[in-house]
Symmetry: C2
Subunit: 354 residues, 2 copies
């Protein structure tokens, strides 16, 4: 690991940096800018594993020819309330920005819309997309098939399922909007890697071995499997997400998922779905948001367990993290900083993050 | 508990019995028939806690004036793809049959529909409604606010959340359709009661006490709380379901939920949502269903853990249970049989289940 301390850099500087890297690798300026904004939105939420941290990896994929730099992202089937979008193997952020905006436009007209995508790529943090409709007083829902398989079916030992996440966002009034964003596994693969690096033991419930026994040594992770939340319940939710975000769209699910951390060149055919719905289908937006505020406060102000400082609503921690990081900047650890400087040097960028 | 052995009765006889009980209590014939069919569909799926088992309890509510016997179930807001349905405090099965059929009609026209309800009641097993669109080659989704609170928010000790379930159903070809139906708590309240009756210990992970320690003695259940699936993840999903099925529709959620097992007379204002979407928005139905069959088989036929006989898909066990019970009948335990006979006697029904 590189020496040094974690630096904190301003949002605008990091967005510009990402855009200049992707531009130098051949992305059109507007696509590079879209990727930069979406990636930094992950960092702003505190989901550091899905933001600028992924840039070196995305660059590897681009250089290996795994991403189409001049894509034509477009609907191939469409009606007033649904669309199937061909991502044309563009950067995932480009595909999902297009798809989510399309869902918002359709929902603004019709009240409700469901847009699915195929031929996409990893798009970052799920809540980045589910929360986009919220600014339009809409509920947002997002599901995707993860870009690698780490879990067997319930009762199985063959890794043919990913961490398939679901994210649901709901507008509120003066309270932070609700933004649930959960993988359907108890722990993320990254958390296991981190525990191994730190020499820590994992809690029972994160992983099991091939005989179904608890696996708590993260160094033995390759001998075992991530567990779904709630056992067979999370397994079922995981499969359903895979079918709605993958199979329905003609995208990868199961054995045809490409592990994008191992294979940089093969087309991922990553599948996503996004739903947007105007809350004023059901009641005036201001009345709904006022009632959301009341319910949010009822939950937050309910009696706490001894030693618990605060009850959090889904997405509330991220809301404050966004505010903090917009103001103070985004931390970049030394190892990542080293990779970013290397990229800047190779691509002869004006800002080398010195 | 009543003595005797469990009897198995034919589907038609039990449907007729339920319809005659509800008819004798004043429900219009067609509403009584609807309730009977929906309730027995729960039993057919093997969800014995949500079918005819509830009849004595529903009758208590009806007799206490807790249900409107002559309701006008109708949309109070509506467009081509959404509707808000006022259940007018009708039996939950009547409200949700109306709402689900409305969602299917709208989706048949427009491709997609979301119908929410307020002023409803307990409607039985979630999958009964999510699977109704499947026969029309549609994806179905259903969420509801449970009719009683058994869980605190994550970090809290005040029971203001229920087991709020979600159910998602997806058509397949020659394979059983997918039908996920999960509560967002690890264990259902009924399972805890059953463990207490049997004098069994609960596994760690079902419940915690007020200090957050595992609670394994089901006789001490009142001192503790059900746990959500995946900890804070299931808590978040639970809250989001409550907001989409409850708050959005102006239905009860949080402290204003009525515990319908304790209070028979107060209007429940139970909230539900159902979504229906034609799969042929995305690809021809036959092609989608063929691909679903392939994916289902890939999962089922993947390598199993030692000692595991079969990998099940969500809803597959219930599919075979339906087939078995349609043929052989539905088991009624002696305690329930005694209650049903008592009802038959009081209401002087022709069939007293002798």
């Amino acid at each position: 690991m590189a020496e040094g301390t974690t630096r904190t850099l301003a949002v605008q500087r990091l967005e510009d940096f990402i855009a200049s890297v992707l531009g130098a690798l051949g992305l059109p300026e507007s696509d590079a800018a879209t990727c930069a904004v979406r990636m930094i939105e992950s960092d702003l939420r505190g989901v550091d594993t899905h933001g600028i941290f992924r840039l070196p990896h995305y660059c590897q994929r681009i250089r290996a020819g795994g991403v189409n730099l001049r894509p034509k992202v477009r609907p191939v089937r469409e009606n007033a309330v649904t669309a199937l979008v061909d991502g044309d193997n563009a950067m995932g952020q480009v595909v999902m920005t297009y798809a989510t905006q399309l869902a918002i436009e359709k929902a603004a007209e019709a009240g409700l819309a469901w847009v699915g995508t195929f031929n996409g790529n990893h798009a970052g943090c799920a809540a980045v997309y589910s929360t986009m409709p919220v600014a339009h007083d809409m509920v947002g829902m997002y599901m995707t098939v993860a870009n690698g398989n780490h879990m067997p079916p319930w009762g199985g030992v063959e890794r043919i399922l990913g961490t398939n996440p679901i994210s649901i966002a709901i507008p509120a009034g003066t309270e932070p909007p609700i933004a649930l964003d959960i993988a359907t596994t108890v722990a993320a693969a990254g958390k296991v890697k981190l525990a191994a690096q730190k020499g820590e033991t994992m809690p029972i419930g994160w992983m099991i071995d091939r005989k179904g026994q608890p696996l708590t040594d993260p160094k033995r992770a390759s001998e075992g499997f991530l567990l779904p939340i709630g056992g067979y319940k999370g397994y079922g939710l995981n499969v359903v997400i895979g079918m709605l975000a993958g199979v329905l769209n003609g995208a990868a699910f199961g054995r045809n998922v490409v592990d994008f951390t191992q294979d940089f060149a093969t087309r991922n055919n990553s599948g996503h779905m996004v739903l947007a719905m105007r809350v004023d289908n059901f009641q005036p937006a201001h009345a709904f948001k006022r009632e959301m505020d009341r319910v949010i406060r009822e939950i937050r102000e309910s009696e706490r367990m001894e030693g618990v400082d605060r009850i959090w609503l889904p997405g509330e921690m991220e809301f404050y993290k966004i505010r903090e990081r917009r103001e103070k900047g985004i931390p970049v650890n030394p190892a990542l900083m080293e990779q970013l400087r290397q990229l800047a040097k190779e691509l002869q960028l004006p800002d080398r993050l010195e």
